[in-house]
Symmetry: C2
Subunit: 356 residues, 2 copies
């Protein structure tokens, strides 16, 4: 795809959750239609899409029909089955590139990729057996965290080890899956860079945000982050290095630990990212539009930050606060239209804006 | 409707053009679904709506089914047939109120209403016959403008009279419809106030914008408008007086001429308004969300202006400028997804933003 998609063209989106919803809203601003593919009917993205396919990701006939009906395909999550990508690859371009999905789908591949790029990661070792885990605890030290190499997010598929006595239960929690043992990083805080790359290689990064997690779930992102000018430059250059190495097209999120020894990459996500939601009210062009622009072959927009923002996720019962939040000044609500409020479920977010 | 609509409730929108589209996008931010009713299939709003009814406004069965499927009804244009409102009135609440539609549907009723409120309008007289027109030209003077009392917008259904010799052709252009003869107002520039009122009577006005028309079509709106502090206060108070007199719920646009004798009301529009599109990039909560909040029984949001903005409409061949505009800093594109570009057709707009 070398020519920009014209008004009326259709973006195909794998995944119908809140990220797909906000991608669809951004595409609409550019006059583009969206066709959402998701196993669940009537999800957040389906409510605002021009067309919807309700089918499983292993329904290859449905994927082929979807591919034939759209002009480009993108995804709101990284765990797209390889067979699904195979089924559409001959018919329609898809972004971000497959190598980015394959890299971020597997913690071992991802960390190796980052180290090969000359970037710092937490110390890590592959763990398949109890012996591997014993050796890793010796080499890397305690405390540490054991994570499955694939799947798992928001604290799922992870076990913390404080002493060698935790080894057995931690390994059991992996349920036989290959895992990575990671040493803890002594960091002062976490920041993330939301970076975009266009097909012509142009890169644009949003100002880094500072993230606060609780129970493994992102709670708030604040811009500006606490970073020195040198750290800010490092963060942006490092994100650009990752994008270029992957010949990336679209938006990618890079989570970074700020330490006395520099920035350590926690993980990358080849998609729009929860920690970039502040851009909706802090920039003229937000992360969702930036992603759509990139995958549609448009020039990247102006992502300069015009305001200070704190983004707060609304999780589960936080929805009870909506009537009060709706009354607050400088406050923009973004709700996802999920039918059912459940504990731990991301229901929306709020951007609290302070013009600079 | 005294309780705010919850997440997942459905807004019904009469009219599927760009205003309906941007209302639907704003509703989505609040977790609300939209059901669009429009005679044309696949229009700008249908592309982003959860449900669509494609039917004529005189198809009362379709209107009754639509009313039964939604939680509240609103409109993107003022010329809703009375029978359509009758068909839904028993089933579902609708905002803005009918009296606002009836007032703004008829220039004679509108100007009389405004004068009765103590507001200034251009001098005017009702014209049904050639004799009426002769008398109006004598009473009000030349030049003047003859307009049908109903319908007509963007310069349609209007005829300018520079001399008495123009009377015959001007009257012919009315095609037998009742008309209003208006004297010209000696004004320096036009501004508009976009004002919102909630069911509990709370009123919130956006900062007035300054409008530039060409060939009867709005080209640009710029904030801040050239107004003295006293004029700014007058503009806002005057808009609030109109809203209160109509017991209004929703957003209303008020076009004002700035003259040496004060502000003269040109016309009111009981809906979101083209001259309020700048709010999308100049405020935390824009006119579309403010309208949705009002009709959904939510508190009005924070419409304070955080940036200077110039909104420029993209009309017809202006679409050829999109690739260049997409490359400009401080520039937010809003395209309407219309399949066909036609001369004089509003295809999108661009907000050029300058943080204050």
């Amino acid at each position: 795809m070398t020519n920009p998609l014209p008004t009326g063209a259709t973006i195909g989106i794998f995944g119908g959750g809140q990220l797909g919803r906000m991608l669809a809203l951004a595409a609409a601003r550019l006059g583009l239609k969206c066709h959402v593919f998701d196993p669940a009917a009537d999800g957040p993205a389906a409510q605002v899409a021009d067309r919807v396919t309700t089918a499983a990701f292993d329904d290859l006939d449905a994927i082929r029909a979807f591919a034939a009906a759209v002009d480009v395909v993108t995804y709101e999550f990284e765990n797209i089955p390889a067979a699904a990508l195979d089924a559409l690859a001959d018919t329609v371009p898809h972004h971000p590139p497959r190598v980015a999905l394959e890299t971020s789908q597997d913690r071992l591949i991802e960390k190796t990729f980052l180290q090969d790029l000359g970037l710092q990661t937490a110390p890590f070792a592959k763990v398949e057996t109890a012996e591997d885990l014993q050796q890793a605890m010796i080499d890397i030290g305690l405390p540490g965290i054991l994570k499955t190499t694939r799947l798992g997010y928001d604290g799922k598929g992870q076990a913390r080890l404080n002493t060698v006595d935790d080894a057995e239960s931690a390994l059991a929690a992996m349920q036989g899956a290959t895992a990575v043992y990671e040493g803890f990083v002594d960091f002062s805080h976490e920041v993330s860079v939301i970076a975009a790359r266009a097909p012509d290689g142009a890169v644009s990064c949003f100002d880094p945000g500072e993230n606060l997690h609780r129970e493994g779930i992102l709670r708030t992102t604040t811009v500006p982050a606490r970073l020195t000018p040198a750290q800010r430059t490092d963060a942006v250059l490092l994100a650009a290095r990752i994008l270029n190495a992957l010949n990336y097209v679209g938006v990618l999120g890079v989570e970074l630990f700020v330490t006395s020894k520099g920035l350590i990459v926690n993980e990358i996500a080849p998609r729009v990212h929860n920690s970039g939601h502040w851009t909706q009210n802090g920039c003229t062009v937000d992360q969702f539009e930036q992603h759509i622009r990139a995958i549609a072959g448009w020039p990247l927009g102006d992502g300069k930050r015009h305001s200070d923002v704190t983004m707060e996720n609304l999780i589960g019962d936080d929805m009870a606060r909506v009537p009060d939040l709706a009354n607050q000044p400088n406050t923009a609500l973004h709700l996802y239209g999920k039918a059912e409020t459940r504990a731990g479920r991301k229901m929306g977010h709020v951007n609290i804006v302070k013009p600079t």
